[in-house]
Amino acid sequence: MLARLVGLLAALTIALSWGAVAVAAPGAGPVTGAGDTAPVTTASMLPLQQTEAPDDAEETQQPEEPAELLRGTLRGPDRQPLSGLTITVTRDGEEVGSTVTDDQGQWEVGLPGPGTYAVGYDPAELPEGVVPREEGGEQLQGVVVRPGAAQGVIFQLAGDGEGEGVPGGGSGAGAAGPTLLSKVAQLLVEGIKFGAIIAITSVGLSLVFGTTRLINFAHGEFVTIGAVVAFFASTGGPLPLVLGAVVAIAFAAALAGGLELSVWRPMRRRSTGLIQMFIVAIGLSLVLRHLVLVVFGSRRRQYDEFTLQPAWDLGLVRITPRDLVITVLAFLVMVLVAVMLQRTRTGKAMRAVNDNQDLARASGIDVERVVMVVWLVGGGLAGLGGVLYGLTQAIYPEMGFTLLLLMFAGVILGGIGSAYGAMIGSLAIGVISQLSTLWFPASLQFMWALLAMILVLLFRPQGILGRRERIG
């Protein structure tokens, strides 16, 4: 038992020691130190924090939240909400609070009292092609808040080069007025890109399940950690992002392998129940995610390379070179995985273990080695997926968990345990979630993906490629 503990600690030390290095590394560019965690986000994850406040011994009848607040909704010129922007509120040059816009573009900052405040955001965080409508429009001075008021704040944004901008109102009332066809095509492209990223992350999830029957709830953390390591190596460190991504892949793979050695293999040796292992995986995911939160902070951040790129107009659709490269790269990786599974010895062994572990073992396959390779490959792919997702969206500690549920959806859609099923299912999930924004609010896009998964379970409980189990 002692050896187990030591092993576990060793694995955690990897994560921690990396964390310490990262803290020591000086923040660069728009990044500030890990310390300025946005308090609003943290509090919202823990509902009872507010009432608990151990410092005030005497709880009062008054509502705990400050009565005065500033709030608003940040929308781009196309009326799409802008998420992940940091809003900072200051009074007399002193910061009184900050928050990050949620995926509806909404934000809210509690104030210490009535008064005059300045509110602003960092224009560098705006997506490409979006700028403040007026110069200096990212800072609003002299916002007066009356006692008890929830004061709304409007930031006006415009498309890059539009100068005058578009009048608020009609949705999608761009200059040209995109046709339905081009909108669908654009969303399809976005969906395939998103789905391809989910696909390369979910391959590992599915392969690990196939070879060990473990539902690795901590798989999403490999994604987050990949993105974060690449961030500290490139944006916060000396390397270009491409090399940073290589470091990230290596780190995520090493972490996955280390955890296999220190946690999963010993548990399998003791023939621990699968439910027990599943719950351990949940605990592990909590540990890893919140270590990242401590080290990285809760803010959404961006890599400082490849962020602002003019999109290529391909007629029906527009795509930035970055997104094109990401999509092609993701598909390339999928093809590589397929080739590995079909052609290489290790890949064939993986499929054999996936089909029937006992038979594979009996025919001389070193199952433990195969499982190890699966972890390394799966972890590395997840790390790469994290970098790609961070490039297209943002880097934040919850990203892995958000993606994890979508990975589950993809894996179950395609049939759990099958690498190809995971890829196809993930692509479908990406497309579903993007296309849904055609008719429904963007904040609900993940909801449709999850609903699709529940529907699949309803009509084909064993998954699309699954088989009915024999009874008795």
Binding site: M1, L8, V23, G35, T37, P39, T42, S44, M45, L46, P47, L48, Q49, Q50, T51, E52, P54, A57, E58, T60, Q61, P63, E64, E65, D102, Q104, Q106, E108, I215, V263, G273, L274, I275, Q276, F278, I279, V280, I282, G283, L284, S285, L286, V287, H290, L293, V294, L405, F408, A409, I412, P441, S443, L444, F446, M447, L450, M453, I454, L457, P461
Partner: protein
């Protein structure tokens, strides 16, 4: 370091309203997992519909609070039926993923602009529980010198712990009845129960509804306690808290969720207070941790606790290690 302050905070945490509320929700989860073997990872979804079911009628239609609580319970029954029909036939691990996804779907839905007229969307609802505090029988605080509870907290605690013990009592009666025997047989082997003429699906559904209603009542109490609701308070992590509480106490033990919740909140508040003091007094330098990191450290500690419990003492504080070894799943 002011040890007394840390201890008094921890004791307040251990017996405060949150501990009672989480105990109640964990009792529901214990019916699901501990006695029926259902891997429900969406308990927070039941809490969400319970909380909003309670608050919405009060805020939107001016109904009395008790009617709201009733609506909350009905919402939980409805959710259990909606969730159960597609998912209860699934293998255990699929059920876990389906339930966690369902809870997230609900959160997305309640915070969406569609639901905003009723739920207040991301801004949530506030000040709807006046009807509860109007009945507060406590006029003064409980003052033990080193520890005080306000009358308001005392009232929530009375109702919360009262509900938790009533629920535990009900579970005790049920589990030691033939109904409970069938439930436990479903946990052990569905096919065997079926071969003996038991309608396994119906029992699973009853279990889901019953535990879900307890989750909903806990959700209603969360809203009443904080007088404020926000869909983003109902993150999946709440479910993981409940699992930790249940396993800490010892799954399939009647009083385990209550014991688990008290111990859990004691440890959690202890960690929180101690860290706060350590940072405040400079014992932990700001280069390592700052006050705003404490929340994250707490979550990490919960995760680590859950891992170690499951690896080294899966039967929890009250469970029978020998009994657990018989579990071959």
């Amino acid at each position: 370091m002011d040890l007394l302050a840390i201890l008094s905070n921890s004791v307040r945490g251990a017996f405060g309203p949150e501990a009672a509320i989480y105990a109640l929700a964990a009792i529901g989860l214990n019916i699901h997992f501990g006695y029926t073997g259902l891997l429900n990872f969406g308990q927070v979804g039941f809490m969400l519909v319970g909380a909003y079911g309670t608050a919405v009628p009060v805020v939107a239609w001016g109904w009395p609070l008790w009617a709201g609580v009733l609506v909350g319970v009905l919402c939980a029954v409805l959710l259990a039926l909606l969730l159960g029909f597609p998912t209860l036939r699934l293998r255990g691990d699929y059920l876990a993923i389906a339930t966690i996804a369902a809870a997230e779907v609900l959160r997305y839905l309640y915070r969406s602009s569609w639901a905003e007229p009723l739920t207040g969307g991301v801004f949530g609802l506030k000040q709807f529980a006046g009807g509860f505090y109007a009945f507060n029988p406590y006029s003064g605080p409980l003052d033990l010198g080193w520890l005080t509870f306000s009358p308001r907290a005392l009232w929530v605690m009375t109702v919360g712990w009262g509900a938790a013990f009533l629920a535990a009592g009900l579970v005790a009666l049920l589990i030691h009845s033939p109904w409970g025997r069938v439930l436990r047989s479903v946990r052990e082997d569905e096919q065997a129960a079926r071969s003996l003429g038991k309608n396994v699906f119906a029992y699973k559904m009853q279990s889901l509804v019953l535990g879900g209603v307890m989750g909903a009542l806990a959700g209603a109490l969360i809203g009443i306690n904080s007088q404020a609701l926000n869909p983003d308070s109902f993150m999946p992590i709440i479910t993981f808290y409940l699992w930790t509480i249940m396993i800490l106490g010892g799954a399939s033990r009647v009083l385990a969720p209550i014991v688990g919740s008290v111990v859990f909140w004691f440890l959690l508040t202890f960690l929180d207070s101690a860290l706060r003091q350590a940072i405040g007094t400079g014992l932990v330098p700001a280069s390592v941790l700052v006050a705003s990191d404490i929340g994250a450290v707490r979550f990490a500690a919960v995760g680590l606790g859950l891992m170690l419990l499951m690896m080294f003492r899966p039967a929890g504080l009250m469970g029978d290690q020998k009994e657990l070894r018989l579990d071959v799943r």
